[in-house]
């Protein structure tokens, strides 16, 4: 079954769960200061820069909870030894094609790219890899977590198949559709 959202699509194997979400932007607090600011201190105009949220794709052999963190916190803790969690996290077209996001195209995942300390939080037994890249003027991070580092030869191909199935609509097309990415 193909899952589509925000110009990103992925082929989801039977039995896997997937979600493509874009959290609501924090419209209630553009300055970040809000009612906590003592009286008499006006926000700097520069503080009115607004935060943005962009699409995040989660695919996993386990059900993905609604409260999952963008990089899988709340989900990767419960992975079994044969489980896989894949996150495709978008950063914004303004960051695409340069610096950290200079590489082009979805990376091909290989077991050698995975390590036990490649997560925001080290969890014993887990293994992860992280790649920054751009496709069609859109900047992404592909973050993949395996339930077991010792089982990576068996599980990485399953994650790699997920990554190979990604289809991404270019930024220019999305902008023409009126969707900010």
């Amino acid at each position: 079954m193909r899952r589509i959202g925000y110009g990103i699509s992925v082929e989801v194997p039977v039995g896997w769960s997937a979600a493509i979400v874009r959290r609501a932007a924090p419209a209630d607090d553009p300055s970040g200061f809000d009612a906590r600011a003592p009286q008499g201190i006006a926000p700097d105009p520069g503080d009115l820069v607004t935060e943005r949220t962009l699409p995040v794709l989660h695919v996993s052999t386990r059900p993905v909870p609604a409260t999952v963190g963008d990089f899988g916190s709340g989900a990767v803790e419960s992975l079994g030894t044969e489980d896989v969690f894949v996150a495709l996290v978008e950063y914004g077209s303004d960051l695409a094609d340069a610096g950290l996001f200079e590489k082009q195209g979805v990376p091909r995942l290989a077991p050698s790219q995975f390590g036990p300390h490649r997560m925001p939080r080290d969890i014993v037994g887990r293994s992860a890899s992280q790649h920054f890249f751009s496709v069609g003027g859109r900047a992404f991070c592909l973050f993949t977590v395996l339930g077991s580092h010792s089982r990576r030869m068996a599980t990485v191909p399953r994650a790699a198949a997920i990554a190979r199935s990604f289809q991404i609509v270019p930024a220019a097309t999305m902008h023409a559709r009126g969707v900010r990415v």
């Binding site: 906590r36 003592p38 409260t67 950063y91 303004d94 790219q113 997560m119």
Partner: protein, 471 residues
């Protein structure tokens, strides 16, 4: 050559950080052996902070104070990264050899008044080599830090420089980095104070993670947040909330200044420069605590910061000075920098039988036998010209008063008189007696046109509009 005077900064430190009874107790206990002074002190501080920040949880729940302060996942086995404040001398900023590499936010954090808390990863730089950068993280042997567990001297025992991960919204011009050295926190989004993208990621599970070296939420953090946190001149916090020796005030040190709080004044910030001058001027014991932020945009590019007992003030034409006590009330009531005295040019100076504080165009002065007075403009010039309090006039006995055609100011042994908007002149001694007998300024001689001069033969001569008197 020793002057015998204490360094002003040390003097302030002595005022606010002199060992308390608790510290003395800890010293005694630590000297008995078994536990380090640091360990005892941190433990005591943590317990105190726990009571201050979450007393209900600390008192009612079966948990340690450490858990209350440092939050969940505070051990190395949790896998989370340590806070920079814990490993960077208390400073909530990236240590040397690391840089802001990405951020996320956590909702409903008590450390930000129930709002969003922003956690920023400081990643190590690849300073030792550049191998392994195919996936944007160099080999760990290249990192500018080494993987360690947090010290057991603090409750923040999370791992230091171990996790090879990058959130990736900050300093994206850096293509390859080391792992996460430590974490910085703020209640203000990092794209407002560092080179970070506004792209927001979220992980609420870290909302209550913390360190005993970070200031808890309260009036001081509220002010710091309102000022823009790290974007403000205060920059990064450099330790937790501390109390003064006498318990009347609390404060938080920042790399660019300090925030004070008392129940009487609320929270007020001051820059490092003002803090240094504040210490030099006597600190809390003389000026009291600040009553608000520094106000800029005064006449002649000046600024002022008000304190309980006075003010610190500066302008483009003068250096920084304090005005406190009676002098403050006199200067304030006279119109401050817009009054006849303008800005102070010196601190209060002790005199053998009184004191004086000089301003750009006058002074405030008092002696043991005369009241507090202002002397300004032509009166100030005239008084200085005849030797001030050491001259024939002595100290002023009243402020300047108006006359029909001019002004006058009385002194112990004479007075100053001048036509409106014209120089004033000193009249004293036998000339004064003769002149007053003739009706003074309103009499036949009129106003003086020069100071009385001593002829050196036991007589004085005074020049007036309509003649001279020698007596």
């Amino acid at each position: 050559m020793s002057t015998g005077r204490t360094d002003p900064s040390e003097a302030l430190a002595e005022v606010v950080e002199r060992p308390t009874g608790l510290v003395k107790l800890i010293d005694r206990l630590s000297r008995r052996g078994g536990v380090s002074r640091r360990g005892l002190l941190v433990g005591a501080a943590v317990a105190g902070s726990a009571l201050a920040t979450d007393p209900k949880a600390y008192a009612l729940m079966p948990q340690t104070a450490y858990a209350t302060i440092c939050g969940p996942g505070n051990t190395a086995s949790s896998g989370w990264t340590i806070f920079c404040a814990t490993v960077n001398k208390g400073v909530n900023g990236c240590p040397p050899g690391s840089f802001t590499a990405g951020w996320w936010k956590a909702a409903d954090s008590s450390w930000c008044g129930g709002g969003y808390r922003y956690i920023v990863d400081c990643n190590a730089k690849c300073t030792k080599c550049s191998t392994g950068c195919a996936d944007h993280i160099c080999d760990s042997k290249c990192w500018n830090c080494s993987c360690t567990k947090g010290s057991t001297a603090t409750c923040d025992q999370r791992v230091n420089c171990c996790n090879a991960f990058r959130y990736g919204q900050c300093n994206t011009q850096v293509k390859c980095s080391g792992g996460v050295h430590c974490r910085v926190v703020s209640c203000v989004a990092p794209y407002k104070w560092d080179n970070c993208s506004t792209t927001s990621f979220r992980s609420d599970s870290t909302a209550e993670h913390s360190s005993p070296y970070l200031p808890a939420w309260g009036p001081m953090e509220q002010l710091y947040t309102a000022m823009g946190a790290q974007k403000s001149y205060l920059r990064a916090s450099a330790g937790p909330i501390r109390s003064t020796v006498d318990g009347t005030a609390k404060y938080v040190n920042y790399t660019g200044g300090r925030i004070w709080w008392t129940s009487a004044t609320g929270a007020s910030a001051m820059s490092s420069f003002v803090l240094e001058r504040y210490a030099a001027f006597g600190g809390p014991s003389r000026l009291g605590y600040p009553k608000g932020a520094r106000t800029t945009g005064l006449t002649d590019g000046g600024w002022i910061q008000l304190f309980q007992n006075g003010a610190m003030v500066d302008s483009a034409s003068t250096s920084t000075h304090s005005v406190h006590g009676y002098r403050w009330g006199m200067w304030r009531d006279s119109g401050r920098e817009n009054g006849p005295l303008k800005y102070p040019v010196a601190e209060m100076e002790d005199l053998p039988d009184g004191w004086i504080q000089r301003f750009q165009t006058g002074c405030t002065v008092v002696s043991t036998t005369t009241p507090r007075c202002l002397v300004h403009n032509y009166a100030w010039l005239a008084w200085v010209a005849v030797g001030r309090e050491k001259g024939p006039l002595g100290y002023p006995t009243s402020d300047r008063a108006g006359l029909t055609r001019g002004t006058t100011q009385p002194f112990q042994h004479g007075g100053l008189w001048g036509l409106a908007s014209r120089p004033m002149f000193a009249v004293w001694g036998a000339v004064l007696e003769a002149w007053l007998a003739a009706g003074g300024a309103g009499g036949s001689y009129g106003f003086p046109t020069a100071h009385v001069v001593d002829n050196g033969d036991g007589t004085l001569t005074g020049a007036f509009e309509n003649g001279a008197i020698t007596a």
